[in-house]
């Protein structure tokens, strides 16, 4: 399909900070597209450039073939749902929604009909006469969405629309947002720092870091094949290994030597030659844990380990296991639960195994702020024990990957 919205080499600098660096990006019509990244990565600046609140230092922005770079915000067929709602406090819900049509001096009858339609869409007909301070956070968010949609924008921009809400409400509104997207069939550009939100709702995601796009792809691509250590660490949890290519086994697989760990077989899609340094990332749920060494099969890596920490999380159990210098995070789903099976507990000597295809090599180790990576394996254990609040967030983001055991 043809590109609908296009950023062409867009750059923006604020004083000493390069907020957006040469970003080129194309978004298809009707897509739910997310810009995902930590705060300060430039995603909001990109959104504000599209909305017209910032002018890029370089580059152009195109909407449906038209260059909109120099248009003022009120002449762009895009509307924004702001992070802090930005509802007009002196106006009722009804007048907030009607604002866009009123400033355009549309006929009264049309305004009445359209506002009524929007109130029905967000199911707030009975609160039409309330002022913003009289309605709840979730309702405010819905009003903000209706207010933006009534102008029939070409693209709806959502700037961290759920950040101010609590977890339960966030999940519900996320589903509502998805329904609205299906219903109105608009292009949505969603800015968030919450990878869970972005993964569950988007057609495509651009992961941003330090003003550039690290990776662009579908949620599955970004999770299963991150192109950099930053993406791997920012999207979900992962275990990192640093090593170098030892030898080439065949066309597809190489053996990698990891100091203080063991040699492992890995899918070599990057065609690296022996001696080349690599970073290897393996997701926690890709490992299998067993008391007996698993049957040897082709391309299966098997390593002995010792359990240091066990956290039972209902749908799965999280293990922290020690292999020489490495402390690994492993998730085991309880796919088969036998009452007579003795669960693996602390201090047990066990075997971990994973398929060569489940580990992936990373192109580069991007310069990332250490705080952005959930936590280096060494410190993770204490962190989880010390802060139970952290735990629930993590648990949630992990549940997303396991549809079987969530939302009870």
């Amino acid at each position: 399909m043809e590109e609908f919205l296009k950023f062409d080499h867009v750059s923006k600098r604020f004083g000493k900070i390069q907020a957006v660096k040469e970003v080129s990006l194309s978004i298809k019509k009707g897509e739910f597209f997310s810009l995902l990244g930590p705060s300060g990565c430039g995603k909001t600046t990109l959104l504000r450039i599209l909305a017209g609140f910032e002018h890029p230092d370089q580059g152009r922005v195109f909407l449906d073939g038209q260059d909109i770079t120099d248009l003022p915000p009120n002449q762009r067929k895009v509307n924004t749902v702001f992070q802090n709602y930005a509802l007009f406090p002196h106006l009722t819900v009804w007048h907030n929604i009607a604002f866009g049509l009123q400033v355009a001096h549309r006929p009264k009858k049309e305004i009445n009909e359209e506002v009524q339609r929007m109130l029905e869409l967000i199911q707030m007909e009975s609160q039409a006469d309330y002022k913003p301070h009289q309605i709840s956070g979730g309702q405010k968010q819905r009003v903000a969405i209706a207010r933006a949609l009534i102008n029939k924008p070409r693209v709806l921009l959502l700037d961290e629309p759920l950040a101010a809400l609590d977890l339960k409400l966030r999940q519900r509104l996320l589903m509502e947002l998805d329904l609205i997207h299906d219903e109105v069939g608009l292009t949505f550009l969603y800015v968030t720092h919450d990878q869970g939100e972005a993964m569950s709702i988007s057609d495509h995601i651009a992961v941003m870091n330090q003003g550039t796009i690290e990776q662009l792809g579908s949620p599955v691509e970004i999770y299963e094949a991150p192109c950099s250590s930053f993406v791997a660490a920012f999207i979900g949890d992962t275990n990192f290994f640093e090593g170098k290519v030892k030898d080439i086994i065949n066309q597809d697989y190489s053996r990698i030597e990891i100091e203080d760990f063991s040699d492992v077989v890995c899918f070599n899609d990057k065609q690296l030659t022996p001696g080349h340094p690599v970073y290897l990332s393996i997701r926690p749920e890709k490992f299998r844990i067993s008391r007996q060494p698993p049957e040897m099969q082709h391309n299966l890596n098997v390593v002995p380990a010792r359990v240091e920490e066990v956290i039972y999380l209902g749908s799965h159990t999280k293990y922290w296991v020690r292999v020489n210098g490495y402390r690994l995070e492993i998730n085991q789903q309880h796919s088969r639960f036998f009452l007579d099976e003795k669960p693996i507990l602390w201090e047990e000597e066990i075997w971990i195994s994973w398929m060569a295809d489940d580990g992936f090599m990373l192109d580069r180790y991007s310069e990332v702020d250490e705080n952005l990576i959930p936590a280096p394996p060494e410190e993770m254990g204490e962190d989880l024990n010390g802060k139970p609040g952290n735990d629930t967030g993590k648990q949630n983001q992990l549940q997303r990957n396991q549809p079987g055991g969530s939302n009870q």
Binding site: A51, G52, F53, P72, P73, N74, V78, N79, T80, F82, N84, A86, L87, F88, P89, H90, F99, G100, V103, A104, H133, R147, A148, N151
Partner: protein, 292 residues
């Protein structure tokens, strides 16, 4: 039940100091002024016993309704000019960098460090026939050498605006500072032009500040007497001058009280009406809610 009563008592305890203050220093003197207005004058500058409506005769003098009208008119125009100048000033003050803002706010407040009277006399010098402004105007052929800048309603208006401008800038600035400027972005985003956003979103949201500014300017403007006395001429006299004249020159306290009472009523009636209309529009307890 008991707890509610306790709360009521607490509320009274907290509010009573300001309530007593207002009673003793505002309500009682006002009532005294109203009472004296109905007392006969005595030759020694005090007032006699008994009651009379004689003081009302002062208004038979055609000069007085005219003067009352001029007082209200001058005050209204002063207020309007002050608000008109203050809103954009306050808007800009919130938009500039904090360093500039501090400096400019200081410059607005600095005149207060000089005595009010000194500043008025300074204006007299500035507007003097031999003064700088007059000379420039004559030089530019904008005024003939015979016209007098001083002793006119225009001069009084100018100095009144100068005097009361800070009183309208500061409350409007305080309101504008609390204004969430992202709302203007939201309005622009929804298709409003800059001016539309300004009038539909900015102005309504600082309306309380504007209302405060109106009262802060209009009330003292109505009662001003030094400015018309020093800057104004015989045809720009205001009610304040008459009250002073009746009190100090004529030593007729009851008539002065009468004039004051008229001035107070001219203020109180619109204020009470405004309060009543607002409370009816917003329903019960609305004044409490608005305070948030």
């Amino acid at each position: 039940m008991n707890r509610m009563r306790q709360n009521k008592i607490d509320e009274w305890l907290v509010t009573s100091p300001s309530l007593i203050w207002l009673l003793v220093f505002f309500l009682v003197p006002t009532i005294i002024v109203f009472i004296i207005a109905f007392k006969p004058a005595d030759p020694y500058g005090g007032f006699g016993t008994g009651w009379t409506l004689d003081n009302f005769r002062a208004f038979e003098n055609t000069n007085f309704p005219l003067m009352l009208w001029r007082t209200i008119w001058l005050s209204l125009v002063t207020t309007m000019i002050c608000i008109f100048l203050s809103v954009p000033t306050a808007y800009q003050l919130t938009r500039i960098s904090p360093r500039w803002r501090k400096l400019l706010l200081l410059m607005i407040v600095i005149p207060f460090w000089t005595s009010f009277l000194v500043r008025i006399f300074a204006w007299k010098t500035i507007l003097h026939p031999e003064g700088l402004i007059k000379k420039i105007l004559v030089f530019l052929n904008l005024a003939s050498p015979e016209t007098s800048l001083l002793y006119s309603s225009g001069a009084v208006l100018l100095v009144m605006v100068y005097t009361f401008l800070p009183f309208s800038i500061l409350p409007i600035y305080a309101a504008a500072e609390k204004f969430d400027f992202r709302l203007l972005e939201a309005a622009r985003d929804l298709g409003a032009r800059s001016l539309q956003a300004f009038f539909r979103i900015f102005i309504p949201n600082i309306s309380r500040g504007i209302l405060t500014a109106v009262l802060m300017v209009f009330i003292p403007a109505l009662g001003s007497y030094v400015i018309p006395d020093i800057i104004g001429g015989p045809d720009s006299e205001m009610l304040g001058n008459k009250i002073a004249q009746r009190t100090f020159v004529d030593r007729n306290l009851p008539q002065a009280s009468w004039l004051s009472a008229v001035l107070i009523l001219a203020l109180l009636i619109p204020m009470i009406l405004n309060l009543y209309l607002r409370s009816r529009r917003l329903g019960k307890h609305s004044l409490l809610k608005e305070g948030r």
